[in-house]
Subunit: 318 residues, 2 copies
């Protein structure tokens, strides 16, 4: 059996795992991102942890990393990790290889998740996939013609900034009307609150212990699963907004699989039913028929498995 | 010098040309599409015309065809040409090769135009291009990672059916609110007429000889070039609507070049100024900066040159 080290590098925590070629996580370590510091200490500190997860195994094919920022994967180069100080213009793979003697690959975190789903998850067997992560923001990873698509400057996938309602709600990016400004985590909460205030007969009040300020999309998800009318309507609002962009992407790219993950996607059936219904209304029949919209397979482990997939894929291509 | 035969196969006319590897049309013949008939007569009738354009030249690398319909390019197979009777499920390349002894390639007409622009036109030197054709409909051809992108079922590029205003104006496809339902040729005319009726002080009345029913987008283009306020406003309406979708595509695909052609694009500066202004407003700064929006180089010859490019490209890849 062959193995690879997958590293899920987030703004808060770093998870380091050993993954088998079958996509199973064999061993896993989690640390605070802050523990590793800037490049001058990072590689020295992470190296023994990598050795630790690999202990007792042969055939380690390399290290694959998903990182939150702007990366040139062919060169293993980090342009910038906006949320982690000290990581501008770093030859990451080269430095990691020097320290660990393992061939190293790195890509954007959202792309790595898409790769995990294609390699071992809900995208398996498909060559043209849009993988969405619904959370604080709306992230997108594209697999086209069987491979990750990066775009001209490695910045493809910014589907959260699709101009859904031009001139509308202010988005974190500074523009107005982006998809994310309607279906980002906090926007869903704000929308739900505004609806709750006008409706006393909803399970949402009970869910949040009558404290509207503690309401989260998770509460809305649970209420909808219990059939709460208002909660179902809230997910229909989210689904309809997302569907506009999905229909556009289906018509433009003729993709065959849309994989949706992230915390917000845990709302499950009420959300997915709405997404499918409205996407069907807006996409061309011929193209919608050939596209399936499904829930992501992986939750926490996606970054580790996807990181390892970077390694296994690179070895397949050789 | 190497040559290829490029065939621009339209619903009304077929143009057959000999193209040099430099992208120059050396010789050209035009016929009514109806003259060639269905597959049982088509190949016999077109073969001598192909021989005619090739006469006196050596190094003919093959034949490349752009056709209006659903095509599987790898197999040279026509699923359907909706506007030309008798062309369902035809092994086009195989039959053409049998008749002419020239290696034959075929692709969708919009894709072939995108390839012409990439090979010899306004997309030269770029690997990630959206090529738009603005006319009766809004067609799109995508070059991603240097090659034509076809999608899972060879139907990518239906950008005209992007849901611009969900639930809005009825589109020819049966859905409501598609981009095409706002900026297709006849929709621009209808919008211009509705504005003219409320405004006597516009050059548009003079342009159409005071016969509003004879108004075309060409009149609106000419009036705008002369500085007519209403005409400029009409192009701003068109540009703004198109910009929503272009900003979305830039953010999603991180393309570097948008090439816009077709009859409507002849409006020129007033239209392009509006497209650029509004796309800049809605796209992410980082991505907009790396994208240029330009006018297509080719007009009539694009289909012939693009057809020939299919041949030259296939030979490069070998």
């Amino acid at each position: 059996m062959k193995y690879a080290v997958g590293i899920d590098w987030g703004g808060t925590t770093i998870s380091i795992g050993l993954v088998s070629e079958k996509g199973e996580i064999i061993k896993k370590i989690k640390h605070d991102t802050a523990d590793f510091g800037k490049p001058n200490t990072f590689f020295k500190k992470i190296s023994p942890l990598i050795a630790q997860v690999c202990k007792g195994k042969k055939n380690i094919m390399g290290i694959g990393v998903g990182a939150p920022g702007f990366i040139a994967p062919e060169k293993g180069y980090i342009f910038d990790l906006p949320n982690i100080a000290g990581w501008k213009k770093i030859e990451f793979s080269k430095l990691m290889e020097k320290e660990t003697s393992h061939k190293t690959y790195i890509d954007n975190d959202v792309n790595v998740i898409a790769l995990a789903e294609q390699s071992y998850g809900a995208g398996k067997g498909y060559d043209n996939i849009l993988c969405l992560t619904l959370g604080t923001g709306v992230g997108g990873g594209l697999i086209l013609n069987g491979s990750l698509y990066h775009g001209a400057g490695y910045n493809a996938g910014e589907i959260g900034h699709y101009p859904l309602k031009p001139g509308g709600a202010l988005c974190g990016c500074g523009n107005k009307g982006c998809l994310e400004a309607y279906i980002g985590n906090s926007k869903i909460t704000a929308y739900a609150k505004s609806k709750m205030r006008k409706e006393k007969k909803t399970l949402l009040w009970e869910m949040c212990g009558n404290d509207i300020n503690s309401l989260t999309p998770k509460h809305v998800g649970e209420a909808a699963k219990k059939g709460d009318k208002l909660a179902v309507e809230i997910w229909d609002y989210v689904g309809k907004n997302l569907a506009v962009v999905l229909a556009g992407v289906i018509n433009l790219l003729n993709i065959e699989r849309i994989v949706i993950g992230g915390g917000v996607a845990l709302a499950g059936k009420p959300l997915f039913d709405s997404i499918k219904k409205h996407t069907k209304e807006m996409a061309l029949d011929l193209l919608y028929k050939k596209t399936s919209i499904v829930s992501a397979k992986f939750k926490e482990g996606a970054g580790i498995i996807g990181g390892a997939s970077l390694v296994f894929n690179a070895n397949k291509k050789k």
